[in-house]
């Protein structure tokens, strides 16, 4: 009996010995929590700054109009005459336009396209996922097959195919008049966003529908509609926000890629890169700055998305 006792004492002593460092960690933790993690902070500052600059671009005195050549002593600064400096911060391009102004103004398109296609993706993909996960059965099977098919196709090939098809479709039907180039890109990219969103939302719904509070709601007579809208969807919001941030980054990069391939808008970071890359040795600024803008924006979305995913403990689906 006594040996047993000493055994117990010995085993409990060793973790006790490691207690002091643990304590200090615990005591500093609450203070650190106040400030979001550095990556998240940098990402948020970049995104907020960019959004403010873009939205109120017309009111900032230091921003020129993107389509007008920079004038120095009344002369247009054509063919990359100005490098980065006081007059034009990011230099000028072939037509003498201010690269900085273009970078900011073109962010409008990138952000608009990214946000709208993500929203459409959430609306359609989220609905599909919730319905499939909640009702199971044949609905689930049909949705899963569609999602799997979409995921199996290479994204870029699908996008190129869709965009060129949409041109034909628009030419054929008069009621599709509203579908500008921008809308075509938004629709194409939202198709790409649907599949991963539907998949992750379905997985979450599958686990939520077995939770006890759903059973509790059912036991007081709530209808399916009510359970989905009141019990399940609110619990899906963290997931959706997280996936939205990650997919925003990816979709903005995809928009750049389409523009680079000449399938996107002309007023886009992607087409700036494409148009100026031949003259990279002579005027690096016209290519590197839009690249940096694209990179930093996507990076910022990923930093925020990652942080949210860790915060809400969401395992990343194949986006």
């Amino acid at each position: 009996m006594t040996t047993d006792m000493t055994d117990i004492v010995n085993t409990t002593e060793s973790p006790l010995g490691q207690q002091p460092p643990d304590d200090t960690v615990v005591s500093t933790a609450p203070r650190k929590r106040r400030i979001p993690k550095l990556g998240m902070l940098v990402g948020l500052i970049w995104l907020i700054g960019l959004t403010v600059l873009t939205v109120f671009a017309d009111y900032f005195p230091f921003l020129r109009l993107p389509g007008v050549a920079v004038l120095v002593d009344g002369k247009k600064q054509l063919s990359y005459k100005l490098g980065p400096g006081d007059v034009a911060w990011f230099g000028v391009d072939n037509l003498g336009r201010d690269v900085f102004a273009m970078c900011i103004y073109y962010a409008r398109n990138s952000l608009q396209i990214g946000v709208s296609s993500t929203l459409i993706g959430i609306a359609v993909g989220g609905t599909l996922g919730v319905v499939a996960g909640y009702f199971r059965g044949w609905v689930d099977r049909v949705v899963s097959i569609i999602v799997d098919c979409l995921l199996a196709l290479p994204a870029l090939v699908l996008a190129i195919m869709l965009i060129s098809r949409l041109d034909d479709v628009k030419a054929e039907y008069a009621f599709l008049e509203w579908m500008t180039r921008k809308w075509q890109i938004i629709l194409t990219l939202s198709v790409l966003a649907i599949a991963p969103l539907a998949r992750i939302v379905r997985a979450q719904t599958l686990s939520l529908r077995e939770r006890e509070f759903v059973l509790a709601a059912r036991s007081v007579g709530a209808s399916n509609k009510r359970i989905i809208l009141r019990e399940i969807v609110p619990n899906l919001i963290p997931t959706m926000v997280t996936v939205a941030f990650t997919s925003l980054g990816i979709l903005i990069a995809a928009e750049g890629a389409l523009a680079f391939l000449g399938l996107g808008l002309n007023e886009s970071w992607g087409s700036m890169i494409e148009g100026n890359r031949q003259r990279l040795e002579k005027a690096w600024w016209a290519t590197v700055f839009p690249c940096l803008m694209l990179f930093l924006t996507v990076f910022a979305f990923n930093l925020v998305g990652d942080r949210l995913a860790r915060r809400f403990d969401i395992r990343e689906a194949a986006v």
Binding site: E212, F213, L215, A216, V220, G221, A222, R226, P234, N235
Partner: protein, 363 residues
């Protein structure tokens, strides 16, 4: 009392038992075979009475209460008749049952930590059934919710309505669950292990809240638990389940004073007693619960019963009423108190005095 009347279903004068089960079977198809979770249970519950369903894990007590509620996963095999106020409800679809859930029957679940929606305010969750069933507008529902929280003795009810579940303690959340269940004034409340996840001191408070709610509203209560101590003071009748079958059912007093089933006796002995000297070994029931895919041929408890004989292993005893006390049903060939029982007990105490078998002083 008058203010509360609005939340209550109007009393109906229907004679006869509130709930009547006849040969209820609930089976699940699994890859291993058909699991007979509830296998031929019959009993009835009177209006305003409290019934305790007792049994160890896997005895079918939770599935039995969910069978009555009709809250089972789809594709469950359901047989037998379940009558509620003389109306057959065993074969109703989920859609039809929705009018009964909440309004006539309500349920409280075991774990208050997971039974509340984490992203919805308490007030909204209580107001929900009021709006569904009683068609109240938001304002009335909100004030009724506040009154319900007062009924379940939650301090500062007005403030709680605006809080989220994570801001409340476990006992508090279970009270909120009770308030939600009571919202539409159900005729019968199923409490599925309502105190298992709670602190012992909170357990008593929750049971008192349930008791008061029952007497104030003339509501029936079905208390599902594995703890005989919980049902002792709070029920009129106790049903003991084992291996999907009802093995003993008696008025509470009669069950505790003259238990017939060796299984009930074993359950009683497994309760730690405060007057025992410290370091007394807890008495456990040897063996494990029966496999519900292939239940034993004879009495389902026979493989674990210290008094089992040849007959017990081969023939299943019927559910019979005891000769000496009315309303006391049991399912045993050689019940506690029979000559065979004493003989077997004698034999066991002399042969294996050292091993803590399930033998104790019954008187």
């Amino acid at each position: 009392m008058n203010t509360r009347a609005t939340t209550q279903a109007s009393p109906r004068d229907i004679d006869g038992p509130l709930i009547e089960l006849h040969d209820v079977k609930t089976h699940f198809r699994t890859p291993r075979g058909v699991v007979r979770a509830v296998d031929g249970v019959s009993f009835s519950l009177e209006r305003g009475k409290a019934l305790g369903i007792v049994g160890e894990s896997g005895s079918g007590k939770t599935i039995l209460s969910r069978s009555i509620m009709g809250l089972l996963p789809p594709k469950t095999i359901r047989e037998g008749s379940i009558k509620f106020e003389s109306r057959e409800i065993g074969n109703l679809s989920r859609k039809q049952m929705r009018h009964i859930w909440g309004k006539e029957m309500a349920m409280i679940f075991q774990d208050p930590m997971t039974s509340l929606n984490p992203v919805m305010k308490i007030g909204k969750q209580i107001a929900e059934p009021l709006k569904i069933h009683l068609g109240m507008d938001s304002k009335t529902a909100w004030s009724t919710a506040e009154r319900l929280l007062t009924d379940v003795r939650i301090p500062e009810p007005a403030r709680r309505l605006d809080q989220y579940p994570h801001e409340l303690s476990g006992g508090m959340r279970q009270r909120v669950m009770i308030a939600i269940a009571l919202a539409c004034g159900p005729t019968v409340l199923f409490a599925d292990e309502p105190t298992t996840a709670l602190d012992v001191t909170v357990q008593a408070q929750i049971l008192d809240v349930l008791k008061d709610a029952r007497t104030e509203r003339n509501m029936s209560l079905v208390l599902v638990t594995h703890d005989l101590g919980v049902v002792a003071g709070h029920t009129d009748e106790i049903a003991v389940m084992y291996g999907g079958r009802l093995v003993e059912k008696a008025p509470t007093r009669s069950l505790f004073s003259h238990m017939k089933m060796p299984y009930t006796e074993a359950l009683m002995q497994s309760i730690p007693k405060i007057e025992d000297p410290s370091h007394t070994r807890l008495v456990a029931i040897g063996g494990r619960p029966p496999d519900l895919v292939n239940p034993p041929k004879g009495c389902r408890f026979a493989p674990r019963c210290p008094y089992a004989r040849e007959k017990c292993h081969n023939e299943e005893p019927p559910l019979e009423e005891a000769a000496d006390s009315a309303g006391h049903l049991f399912r045993c060939w050689y019940p506690v108190g029979s000559p065979e029982y004493f003989e077997a007990r004698e034999r066991l105490t002399t042969v294996s005095a050292g091993i803590p078998v399930t033998i104790g002083d019954v008187s």
